[in-house]
């Protein structure tokens, strides 16, 4: 405990102010970084639209045939953000933001 009659109020205020200033500086730095580097979740969630694939249903082509092999695979989510955008209402567990941000 501080000495009687001397509670170092100024030192306490300075220390708390430094912590507050660190917080303010970090809000600004993180917001700037998010805006400049596209590290926002919305930017990471941008989905590159897969080209529409011709339907092979009813075409008579047997699975595994040459025609089948030349076709591009069905749209596979390439990022967690894409997965999220496909079915936002059905996903229960959120995708880790950290990985999306780092990827961007």
């Amino acid at each position: 405990m501080a000495k009687k009659g001397k509670n170092f109020a100024a030192d306490k205020v300075i220390a708390a102010s430094l912590a507050g200033a660190a917080f303010g500086a970090m809000v600004i730095a993180i917001a700037r970084q998010g805006a400049e580097a596209g590290m926002t979740p919305s930017a990471a969630d941008t989905v590159t639209a897969a080209p529409a694939l011709p339907s092979i249903v009813g075409s008579g082509t047997a699975p595994g045939s040459t025609a089948d092999a030349t076709q591009a695979p069905a749209a596979v989510p390439t990022s967690t953000g894409q997965q999220r955008s496909v079915a936002p209402t059905t996903q229960t567990a959120p995708v880790p933001r950290a990985r999306r941000s780092r990827a961007s």
Partner: protein, 217 residues
């Protein structure tokens, strides 16, 4: 103590009012008003809390090692130690509360208050919650140390070192900015300050005072 709590509440209320009034325009000016302001505030508060708690630990270890005797009084170091600790706790509360307003991670009160109850990064989120409680207990028991006994209080106070380790792991692994060099600098600076102060605390031996015995002539 009552004055400190009242001041903390007043500062918190003032901060919320200021945030309400100028937060959005400020974020727009910075180019970051994209609906993720709560996430930004939470990350910034978490990092600032980490730094404040690291400072508190470092000052506390330096104070108890008595290495600064003769340069700065221990009472002054104690005041700084307490102020940084309380500021770190306040920022940790802000870090948690801001998460409640983030629409993406879906944290609710139960998932931030109960360790390992969150669906988002369950283990690391739970570690953060545990860390917060450890710091809360280690800080608040200072005012009841006479009632609980100095030995138990000292033991509880030592858990803050483990709590700092938990905060470090929580921040590094769950933080979405860990790859940014300046954030790595923040983590390293905090860890180095605490490690250095603990090393001093464990190794420094204060010089013995030589008693001057009056010689009878």
């Amino acid at each position: 103590m009552t004055r400190v709590v009242a001041l903390a509440f007043a500062l918190g209320a003032a901060g919320m009012a200021a945030g309400w009034l100028i937060g959005r325009p400020l974020a727009e000016a910075l180019g970051g008003a994209d609906g993720h302001e709560a996430w930004y505030v939470s990350r910034a508060a978490g990092l600032a809390a980490y730094l404040a708690l690291a400072g508190s630990l470092a000052v506390g270890a330096a104070m108890s090692s008595a290495i600064g005797d003769g340069i700065v009084s221990r009472a002054r170091l104690l005041a700084i130690h307490q102020s940084l600790g309380l500021s770190g706790l306040a920022l940790a509360v802000a870090h948690v509360l801001a998460l409640l307003f983030d629409g993406y991670t879906d944290f609710d009160l139960a998932s931030v208050a109960v360790p390992f109850a969150a669906s988002y990064e369950r283990l690391l989120s739970g570690l953060g919650t545990l860390t917060f409680y450890l710091f809360l207990v280690a800080t608040s028991t200072f005012w009841v140390r006479r009632q609980i006994g100095m030995r138990l209080w000292r033991l509880i106070h030592l858990t803050s070192i483990a709590a700092f380790g938990g905060a470090f792991v929580h921040g590094v692994l769950i933080g979405s900015d860990t790859m940014a060099s300046w954030v790595q600098g923040v983590y390293l600076a905090g860890a180095a300050a605490v490690a250095g102060a603990l090393a001093v605390r464990l190794t420094y031996r204060r010089p013995r005072r030589t008693a001057t015995v009056p010689v009878r002539g």
